[in-house]
Amino acid sequence: MKKTINYIRFFVPLLFGCVPFLFFYKYYPNHLHYQEQFQLFLLTGDYFLETASTPGGIANYLGRFFTQFFIYAGLGAFIVSAFLLCIQQLLFAIVRRLKKDLSWTLLTFLPAIAYWYLLCDENSQFGGLIALVMSLAFAWLGTLFKSNRLRNIYLLVMIPAVYWICGGATALFAALILLYEWLMRKQKRKTTAWLAVAAALLVTVCPFIAKFFLQEYPLYRFWWGVDYIHFVYFPPTTMLFLWVLILLVVVAICLIPNVKKEKNQRIALLINIIFIGLISFLWVGKNGYAKNISKEEIMAYDYHCRMKNWDEIIRMADKKSPSVPMTVTCLNLALYKTGQLSEKMFHYFQNGPEGLLPSFRRDFMIPMVGGEPYYYLGFVNTAQRYAFEAMESLPDYQKSVRSIKRLAETNLINGKYKTAEKYLHLLENTLFYKAWAKETRTHLYDEAKINAHPEWGEIRRFRTHEDFLFSEREKDMMLGMLFQQHRDNRMAYEYLMAYTLLEKNTTIFHDYFRMPKDFDYPSIPKSYQEALIYIWGLSHDNLSDIPYPISNSVKQNVEEYAGIYTTSPAPEPLLKKRFQKTYWYYLHFREYKKAKIETQYQY
């Protein structure tokens, strides 16, 4: 039986390694992709020196090093689960130095589960996990010294060193070693107390010394050192709770009496397993996952949009129609890219023009997605601006590999080869974008090759050749001007039409519809038919006289719709059931918020 218990004790960590892996790989992969795009990890000595030259910088550097692998969800999930397991294993190793009885050691999973929960938040940065693992490792190393004197020296010497490597997590390192001293009673209480005073002083003084040498950062940032979250201006106070939890776990395991009887050991093991299972479910499942799953969905749309997985976006929307402007933007782009925008856009939820072309915001996510349709439309300068500004909005002052890639593309399309070259040079110093950058470099100064490129060539052709100033407030006019310069820019046309429909401006829609264009449709797209017959119906009694080839099904539907709309005292529920996938339903019942245009200026 004892063997079985040991097997279980061996099996549980293994299982624990697998569960977060499956969690991040199967259910949370886009949180990993999301993190990866908001950094530019360069394999250069300068990047290392720049990152590692601040307290906690080495943990940040390693965190960013590992984050670059998150581009592949499997690899990212493996790394995350391995480091979560490291937390447990290191804590277990520390506890083992204090107590031989293993009955309650499964409690060492609690901090790892807590960090797993923290990683469900998209603002978490991986450097924080690295800092925690390293501070635990240094603490464990400290417990290996048999000589009291050596251990004391190690503690005092390592506090500044760990501070430099892991930032404020040096407090945890010091606290763990002091706790070890206190619980092991290897030295006199008085000596331990003096040691604690000296350690506390050192931990406190480190940030002040760092501030003295590195004036450009405010003092509060030196207390934490590591960028635990993207918003570096906000103190990551949750980490304090985690550190306290770690100390409590150590104390609790040490203070709980040994379990000697085999039966009791079995009971203890069962309680342990149930407890960590329950905690995992409550923290990670109920709080971490369930609360953030909507963000995972947004990230999934964003990821597929970035990777041009248009069919995947539509597949997701077919399962559940997107409702956030960002996701609707991705869907509308995917619909256009698969030739379905004009036909099927009202089959899905639409939240006004902002879901087609989101307005600029000082944010690192919205402009990143918002720039995508502009890029394909031929508004290369606007796409470039969105990519640049998204990168500049990153709250942790990092650069974004996704933005840099887009900037390289837009400059290449615009013939700004020197600028494109600068960005490509940066990407050539990354692990996963190097090949792309090298291939793209072959296009520099080669007009024919760019023009022949299936994507860049088309976008280049659709750019405006007459200059005008871009207005966020008059996007329909912008689209109109773009289309007027290129009558074969089908995307500009469809977006223009979609924009007017979404704005519920049927008069303008009708005007634009009659504009000449250099392409044809086999039949008028469904949403246009619905709008045209509606416009006709406003001023004519007989729908059959409409001068456009409208399908019989649309004619029948509009009559049925009009019947319910005009006769029913509360038509909305009835119409929703039958006609929510029509333009008419959108026109009459869908409300949308007008965009607030932000302007800030730096000059």
Partner: protein, 485 residues
């Protein structure tokens, strides 16, 4: 015996390596200059500049650089990165000041040695002011991220931060401007809740609210009087817009702008109708070298942005009464620009009062985003306009400022990549001829390749500024703002 064999093998290996490294018998001569970055070929440099380290873009395995002067020689070896010893460099420049130095580069590329066409450096005795301040900022549109004002000692590679928006709650921070290259007289604006115009006068820092109830905006572009008592500023309502055509990026223009004088002794703002009102847009004021007049740019107000391409600023001058702090009563037009002409920005008189350096662009008032922007120089004695072809590039060249001896000026140029501005130094000889400029040298010559920031408004100064980032942090958060009336 074992030891003997070891020694023989080591010696043979050493000889072999030496031969491999230094054999230059079958050297090929090239009639081209080497592809070095930064482009330091045939430039004029001051005798007090930091080492002009550079990269060989061909990435050779080995490079030998020989600087041969009239009295001495300096050799530097490397692979593709050439970094001179600061000590040897300083000694060499001191020995060779006033001479022309020949630079001979030999490089081993794919196992073959190439001897490139040599180039020269003119090392002039006229020294350049040793300190340079600039704002480091990403050349973005509306969003700013990390903004730092820095001071660099250009005689070596020491750089320090004089202000950082990390310490001021992430607010926007404008460029640092020195008055007459004097480190004890300078200013810059910090925006945001606790912001204001930070004035450094004799090392004392003041935080000033430069906007009173009658003004539509606070002080924007400006300059300080040589006495330190006054500042002349434009107050501008600045609007950014975005071009859609490739090659054009950002258009920044003013929908209103006037000139004002700030009296720092009496905390007052002095205005005049002659440089105010809505009919004309006045901007970029600067005191003349003697402090008795003010140069500025002016354009008739237009419907903007529709008529932006017809917005052309002329260069004007108005008197200034040092005793009363009042504007003069008559405006003289020095360079008139009609709708077919170009647009003048950033007039900067040389400290000896001989020249006026300014930017010209096709239209508008924000030359840094106009690719066609060039520098021009007006001879204030003769009225002659110099086009400075040796200085200008295909990209924006602007944001200029003089060295205190009027022999050097620095400016920001986007010539390298079209987007990221870098400080270039240009020598103006006694005859008024401008020489080919060179970029601010860096310890690591790859620095600019990885830098994603622009150097805005590089300004020279004769000494080190008497404050640092921590002082500015304190002023921002703790000092009370002085309201000027």
């Amino acid at each position: 015996m074992k030891h003997k064999i070891f020694h023989i093998v080591t010696c043979l290996l050493g000889i072999f390596l030496f031969a491999a490294c230094s054999k230059q018998d079958d050297i090929q001569s090239s009639d081209e200059w080497p592809s070095i970055y930064p482009d330091y070929t045939n430039v004029t440099i001051p005798s007090n500049i930091a080492p002009l380290n550079f990269i060989m873009r061909e990435e050779p395995e080995q490079t030998e650089v020989v600087l041969k002067g009239a009295a001495s020689q300096l050799t530097s070896m490397g692979s593709h990165k050439i970094q001179f010893s600061e000590k040897h460099w300083k000694k060499f420049l001191q020995t060779e000041q006033g001479n022309t130095v020949n630079i001979q580069i030999k490089a081993k590329i794919h196992g073959k040695w190439i001897k490139y066409k040599s180039f020269y450096w003119n090392i002039v005795e006229d020294r350049i002011d040793p300190y340079l301040t600039y704002r480091l900022i990403e050349p973005g549109y509306e969003v700013w991220n990390k903004i730092q004002l820095k001071e660099r000692n250009i005689e070596n590679f020491k750089e320090r931060i004089i202000a950082d928006n990390n310490l001021t709650g992430g607010t926007c921070m404008n460029c640092h401007i020195t008055g007459n290259q004097n480190p004890l007289l300078s200013f810059f604006h910090i925006r945001g809740e606790n912001g204001g115009t930070i004035l450094n006068r004799n090392g004392q820092l003041r935080k000033i609210n430069t906007r009173n109830k009658d003004m539509f905006a606070s002080a924007t572009y400006g300059n300080l009087h040589p006495s330190g008592k006054y500042g002349v500023f434009s107050t501008n309502i600045v609007v950014p817009d975005f071009h859609t055509k490739a090659g054009e990026k950002l258009e920044v223009y003013d929908t209103a702008s006037d000139l004002v004088i700030l009296d720092f002794d009496n905390n007052r703002i002095i205005r005049s109708d002659i440089v105010g009102g809505t009919d004309f847009l006045e901007t970029f004021p600067t005191f003349s070298a003697d402090g008795n007049s003010i140069f500025f740019c002016v354009a008739p107000n237009k419907t903007l942005p529709d008529s932006i391409k017809n917005l052309k600023y002329s260069l004007c001058k108005i008197g200034f009464d040092v005793r009363t702090g009042q504007f003069g009563t008559q405006i003289d037009t020095l360079i008139y620009m009609d709708e077919n002409g170009k647009s003048v920005s950033f007039p900067k008189p040389s400290p000896d009062g001989r020249f006026l350096l300014y930017s010209v662009s096709d239209y508008g008032t924000f030359p840094i985003w106009h690719r066609e922007t060039d520098l021009q120089m007006l001879n204030l004695k003769t009225g002659e306009i110099l086009d400075l072809p040796e200085v200008n590039s295909n990209y924006s060249d602007t944001y200029h400022s003089w060295s205190s001896n009027s022999r050097w000026f620095v400016f920001a140029s986007k010539r390298d990549d079209g987007l990221y501005g870098k400080p270039y130094f240009c020598y103006v000889d006694r005859k008024g001829n401008a020489h080919k400029p060179f970029v601010l040298p860096q310890r690591d010559p790859y620095y600019y390749d990885y830098l994603l920031k622009s150097f805005n408004i590089p300004e020279l100064s004769t000494g080190k500024l008497p404050f640092n980032a921590a002082d500015i942090e304190k002023v921002y958060w703790k000092d009370k703002i002085e309201q000027f009336e």
